[in-house]
């Protein structure tokens, strides 16, 4: 079926956009993720990638056209698919009429949304708390049924909803280099900064954060090529660190307790050693970067899998009790497989970080003489990164080895790890 190519929203305030040049001509073949066209905004030209592979057909916008966000500018169709641009446009408009709440990006007839991210009619029907929670979780209030008077959305209507696929408010557009980020919790004192592992995203921390004994502010980013963040930089550890640091600086975080898992732990350890950033404590959960081996069969299988059937056996390797992972992780992984580009980005990242199935980066030397309170949490049954890699570091680093736990201690032993994070944060002041 023909896939619509739409003018995406690349800026929160954007209601219309000006078409820039096309990189692909009518009828030419494109690959998913290939540069397709440019949008000219006030600030810069933004590049838009092809949402699917096929032939570009029915181009109906040219450079200089001013169009509402979500307008269809063309279609990508299969090699031998019948295609009539007028019929396609009609079908799109019919769909929009029949499903008025359908996503903005696919509704060409929908008028451009107002400049603010909250429409005036939504303002009146959500409590301030519900609005804040929705903002933090990237939820669209318009899609939430309110249980209060006159349908007012209240916190309880928002609280247990996980963010929908690709709906993070600061989701990066094409050409964007900002990392997606979110405050998972607010509170008093220095923030905890959470950095997820390879193939995960920031939402994976939410179950753990709920168990933190005291309400400290908790902040998380999506690493490049994960969640709502584009793959930018050359895919090296130092590039990951630099981009993470940039995201923290933009949020005004110059001192924090760092909590990282797996690849995120290596990022955390390297970030802690950066001059100018003040790490208050360091919590490394099943850290990468301490030795050469990593389960390459897992990585390769994980990246190859395209369905729940092929993915699930690999996900089972992550934890001793796979039920402890919750539905969220598998869903996140599956969602990534539906979204164009993310899996390819991760494959590229894996090739750079783990060439020939080896951890090509190392943070051991950074942990020889820790200046801040540091803990390492590993699962004795870890099948992804051998837990023995945490041996032989400074005696000042506390090693917590959980029996009956695999590569995901923050999910498999949530309460205990939350308590250790609290202990460490207290020690770090």
């Amino acid at each position: 079926m023909a896939k619509e190519v739409v003018l995406p929203r690349v800026d929160m305030d954007m209601a219309t956009g000006k078409m820039g040049r096309w990189f692909v001509a009518e009828g030419e073949r494109v690959r998913e993720g290939q540069l397709l066209f440019e949008i000219a905004t006030d600030k810069a030209a933004m590049e838009v990638e092809a949402p699917a592979s096929g032939l570009l057909r029915g181009v109906r916008a040219k450079a200089g056209d001013e169009l509402p966000v979500g307008a269809v500018v063309g279609w990508i169709v299969g090699e031998d698919e019948e295609f009539d641009p007028d019929m396609q446009a009609l079908a799109g408009e019919l769909r929009a009429l029949l499903a008025p709440s359908a996503s903005r990006a696919e509704a060409p007839a929908r008028p451009a949304p107002p400049a603010s991210s909250i429409a005036p009619d939504e303002r009146g029907r959500a409590s301030p708390l519900a609005r804040r929670l929705a903002r933090e979780r990237g939820l669209d209030l318009a899609e939430i049924a309110g249980s209060g008077p006159n349908g007012r959305v209240q916190a309880r209507d928002v609280e247990f909803r996980e963010p929908p696929a690709g709906a993070e408010p600061q989701r990066a557009g094409a050409g964007e280099t900002r990392l997606n980020r979110a405050w998972l919790q607010t509170g008093e004192g220095a923030p905890l900064v959470f950095l997820h592992g390879f193939g995960a995203d920031l939402n994976g921390w939410r179950p753990l954060v709920r168990h933190l004994p005291t309400p400290r502010p908790a902040f998380a980013v999506d690493l490049p090529g994960h969640g709502g963040s584009p793959l930018v930089g050359e895919g090296s550890l130092s590039a990951l660190v630099a981009l993470t640091r940039e995201a923290l600086a933009e949020e005004g975080i110059d001192a924090a307790h760092l909590v990282g898992h797996s690849l995120g732990a290596a990022v955390a350890a390297a970030l802690a050693a950066e001059a100018g950033f003040r790490a208050l404590s360091l919590m490394l959960i099943a850290p990468a970067g301490l030795g050469p081996e990593i389960n390459w069969a897992f990585l390769a299988g994980f990246l190859r899998a395209r369905s729940a059937a092929s993915l699930t056996p690999w996900m089972r390797l992550l934890a001793v009790d796979p039920a402890s992972l919750g539905a969220g992780l598998v869903e996140t992984a599956l969602r990534q497989r539906e979204e164009g580009g993310l899996l390819e980005a991760q494959t590229r990242l894996a090739r750079a970080l783990f060439p020939d199935g080896v951890q090509a980066f190392g943070v051991r030397h950074l942990l020889a003489d820790p200046a801040i309170p540091t803990k390492i949490v590993v699962g004795a049954e870890d099948e992804i990164i051998p837990s023995r890699q945490c041996e032989g570091l400074s005696g000042r680093i506390a090693i917590h080895r959980f029996a009956g736990v695999g590569h995901m201690p923050h999910l498999e032993a949530q309460r205990e790890v939350a308590r250790l994070i609290e202990e460490l944060a207290r020690a770090g002041g």
């Binding site: 409590s127 301030p128 708390l129 519900a130 609005r131 804040r132 249980s147 209060g148 008077p149 209240q154 916190a155 309880r156």
Partner: protein
Amino acid sequence: MPQAMRELTFAEAIREALAIALEADERVVLMGEDIGVYGGAFQVTGDLVERFGENRVIDTPISELAGAGVAVGAALTGTRPVYEFQFSDFSMLAMEQIVNQAAKIRYMLGGAVHVPVVFRMPTGSGLGGAAQHSQSLEAWFAHVPGLKVIEPSTPHDVKGMLLSAIADPDPVIVFEHKLLYKVKGPVPEGDYRVALDKAALRREGRDLTIVATGIMTHRALEAAAILAGEGVEAEIVDLRCLRPFDGETIVASVKKTTRLLAVYEGVKTLGLGAEVSARVAESEAIDYLDAPILRLGGVEAPIPYSPVLEKAAVPQVEDIVAAARSLAQGRA
């Protein structure tokens, strides 16, 4: 095992504070209509005239303007008068002395003098006093810079706060709800002080914050007990101090509970609840609110004489229960 603290009524606690102050500081004098041999309109001063004599416990003529003026003048010349109004309503006659003189003299003389006077004001409805003897005028005075305004709700607090007020170098207005005079509570022996600028958390709860003052604190606590039976846990903040106003305690509580109900006896419009809600609306707590802020105040009318109407004119326990329930259940 520690001994249970003795209990006094609210009126006895006030009398004890006055006696301690009279005993400790010879500059302290009591003034007011019928506070001597008669013992005060609500029998608060009681036998103090017998214990301290007519030079320390002074009956003044039936002129609030004259009495308050003498008290302000005496304060300026080095004594520490405590002037009792029979009813806070009668302070209207003395507004010039309280608002234009006591509150402003220190400011206008560049801090060269202080006016260490205390005005005690029996306040509120519930005793059939009708329109001119039942008002709640706290907000009037709390609006005036230069005054300190307090409204204690327990015998413990009224003793400690009155002692703080008498020791304070500036004019302090003490609102005493008439229905509280016979309420008993634990009161420590001897001299102790309670600060004049800090609200008190009377009950912890997770579902909503009720900010109340004076008699309304007791009604809110009664309501909270009923609500607890329904699974609604109300947090009760006893405002206690109206000027200076402790917004921080309210903001901290609302950030925890996400809902706010202000309960006060004065007329609802432009009353204490307006300040309570504004403090939250202006603070970071706005992003924690999960429901509109509600106010329960007195009706927009004079207090009626009819006991049935008098009761209906100000918030009662069942009104607080109903408002809190709808707030906590997300129906407000």
